[in-house]
Symmetry: C2
Subunit: 430 residues, 2 copies
């Protein structure tokens, strides 16, 4: 139901570093979400009538610095939505100055008309913000197969551009959400050796979540001065370690988009291969990983989340066996239902691994749950069943799997499968 036209109703944002899996890096200081965006940025969010609910549905982000640099990642889907196709084909992704985002309509499966509609809104933002068309990225989320209400959006763009404010991140955030039950935002100060910089981010996602090389929607702003190459490198690495490692329902969206823009307003320059770059990268990494875990935590109907950590080498000709197994476990409805029920049913992990790596050879895998070894070499171990049952009642559960061999280690964060997920997704369109 990330294809939903529903609006989230502003539950407060969560603590950015609320998960045990992402500790706050030493040099990162969390700031109040109500504070201004990093220098050089303004944002707004308005309700222009895309959503029937009259909730905010159009967000505009502008970087006032002509020297802005940027980087972007998009869904790997071959049925990518029009805004993704347009941004990829017609934007200068290394020097974006503005991002237009709408919720309530994905503008996907809309063919040539969808591309034209997206182009019209892109052009309108260019005019309203005084930047080049190729410097305006567009992003959408909502129902697939519906067309954008372009006239409403053009009015919305005018309204939003008049409301652009340095403290507009909250309005922007609310405008990009659909079924999110809480805000997924970040606002931090990072103490680099060369000086302090700010990073803010706004993110949405709750269903149709299994990004590959991109995320659901996530927009990151920093006042650090960094080259386009550095921005691209850092965003690429951090997306791979965050949004690319999470799954709510194994369903890659048509609209996933992640965009990082740097204004340089702080005057703090991040040179490649310096301690500055390292510390900044650690901060961005922690920030995106935290936001990714928030998405999983807010997975539609989710009550409990998990991390599956898989190590091992080539199995049955699959050099990425660990990756194959990690994805399979994270997307198994049986594992996810057991997670939901607080059931330490590790037999389903063995079953899933065996199915993901078919072949006659008995797979000698080890499995631990919350540090309790339950299976060694493919065979059940004696365990204290009651202690194990208690261990899987918490909000975050960790499964560790060791496959034969060495060379690969990977992780996937995932949500459980609940009755509410089904209810949300069975009763949507009609």
């Amino acid at each position: 139901m990330s294809d939903s036209a529903h609006a989230a109703h502003g539950a407060p944002a969560r603590n950015l570093f609320g998960s045990r899996w992402v500790p706050r890096p030493e040099h990162v200081c969390e700031l109040d979400l109500g504070e201004a965006l990093p220098g050089g940025f303004r944002a707004a969010g308005v309700a222009c009538g895309i959503k029937h609910s009259a909730d905010a549905d159009l967000g505009l982000l502008v970087c006032d610095s002509p020297a802005a640099v940027s980087a972007a990642r998009f869904t790997a889907s071959s049925t990518a939505a029009a805004p993704v196709q347009l941004s990829r084909a017609r934007c200068e992704l290394s020097r974006l100055r503005a991002v237009l985002v709408n919720s309530g309509c994905a503008n996907a499966a809309t063919g040539g008309r969808g591309m034209e509609d997206a182009a019209k809104t892109q052009g309108a933002v260019a005019v309203a913000a005084g930047v080049g068309e190729a410097e305006v990225a567009v992003a959408s989320t909502g129902g697939i197969s519906q067309y954008l209400p372009v006239d409403k959006m053009l009015r919305g763009i005018l309204q939003a551009s008049a409301q652009l404010r340095v403290d507009g991140a909250g309005d922007f955030q609310r405008a990009i959400q659909t079924t999110d039950s809480f805000e997924k935002r970040a606002n931090v100060e990072v103490a680099l050796p060369s000086g302090s910089v700010r990073i803010t981010a706004q993110c949405k996602g709750a269903g149709m979540i299994s990004p590959r090389f991109a995320t659901m929607l996530c927009f990151v702003q920093t006042d650090a001065a960094l080259s386009a190459q550095t921005a691209d490198l850092l965003l690429g690495v951090c997306v791979k370690r965050s949004f690319d490692r999470c799954s709510v329902d194994g369903q890659l969206s048509t609209n996933d988009t992640a965009i990082l823009i740097g204004s340089g307003a702080s005057g703090v320059v991040i040179e490649p291969e310096t301690e500055d770059e390292l510390v900044f990268g650690q901060a961005l990494d922690a920030l995106l990983r935290s936001l990714a875990i928030m998405i999983v935590t807010d997975g539609e109907g989710a009550g409990r989340i998990a991390r599956v950590l898989v190590r091992g080498g080539e199995v049955g000709g699959d050099p990425l066996a660990a990756e194959t197994v990690a994805r399979a476990v994270a997307n198994s409805p049986l594992v996810k239902a057991a997670l939901h029920g607080g059931d330490p049913n590790w037999g389903r992990i063995v079953q899933t691994a065996g199915a993901a790596l078919p072949g006659p050879a008995p797979l000698a895998l080890d499995v631990s749950i919350e540090g309790v070894a339950v299976c060694a070499g493919g065979t059940a171990l004696e365990v204290d069943e009651r202690a194990l049952a208690r261990a899987v009642q918490g909000p975050e559960i960790e499964y560790e799997i060791a496959l034969p061999g060495e060379g690969c280690e990977t992780e996937v964060f995932f949500s459980d499968l609940s009755q509410d997920y089904v209810t949300l997704n069975a009763e949507y369109t009609t």
Copy 2:
């Protein structure tokens, strides 16, 4: 929850040809399920105490003809259960005379002890039935990681062998079930050019269902006289077109097993490449496809089933793009939840196809639902939304997808995703 120790409570079997997707072949006549097994076969089912419920949990099938021929298919899982490993490694699969099946314990992830336990029960059946050990196949279904209660089973084998009867198919059927809500059995007479033969089958499965090259448990008996090669060929082809084409939850089991035994008692000989072989093959095909659809219909919590039919050629370097998309659609929780809700949400089909075939090129796919074209070349068509919504309220829904190119056509039968599936699978072990 096919890993369940629960017993099914004998709801009556369904009409064998109840689905529009499998019409009854002309030469096939359905017989009463209470009738005797084909000549040469006896079966029994007893409660030996594996299940806590005291329901039947041990089934024994014996072919009294020393000239019996057979064929078998097993799960492709690399964490195959001990009975699968034992049957594959130590049986003469082309001349099986007996099958021992237990429910209530999968004997999976049980290592060397699991193999020994399975071997003990195999040996006991050989003695009790007066056949060679290598002529006894074993099969199990139930909870993974539990050990067989061998002593109870040895007593059960004695009891069952004393109760073997030509009309024991019903007892055998009930002993092999777990979460099945109705019996999946077949009993037909087939009019071959050379004379009439009988085919009976007993089958179980409701969850952890996505067989590849095998099924959940299915045992087929015929009094036709056919060579081991013919039996293997026919079982192989028919399994590929039936159990290999169905999915409840995309979860390949550790225990899938399909065994066909021919007694030859009818005296009707099926020579290769004859009209007899063709008609017999058609009958076996229809029978296994019907049973496969019954499994999907009985998918845990299922209220509605679907067939996705995909045609097309190579896409993005994937020569089996149609197969990739068919599996992805059948296993998408979003598509399955929409199916459950009677929601014609075809945007999720476009999304799933795009995710299954990642790549930058817009995927020009056509989609129809119940014969209504909703998407052409990747773009939404004008449709009568109310008529479409009515069309997806029936018990069997058909999705057709055309990918670019030609050369491959495939189908997958699948069940919906309901709140009850989650409930069944979240609250199982504990």
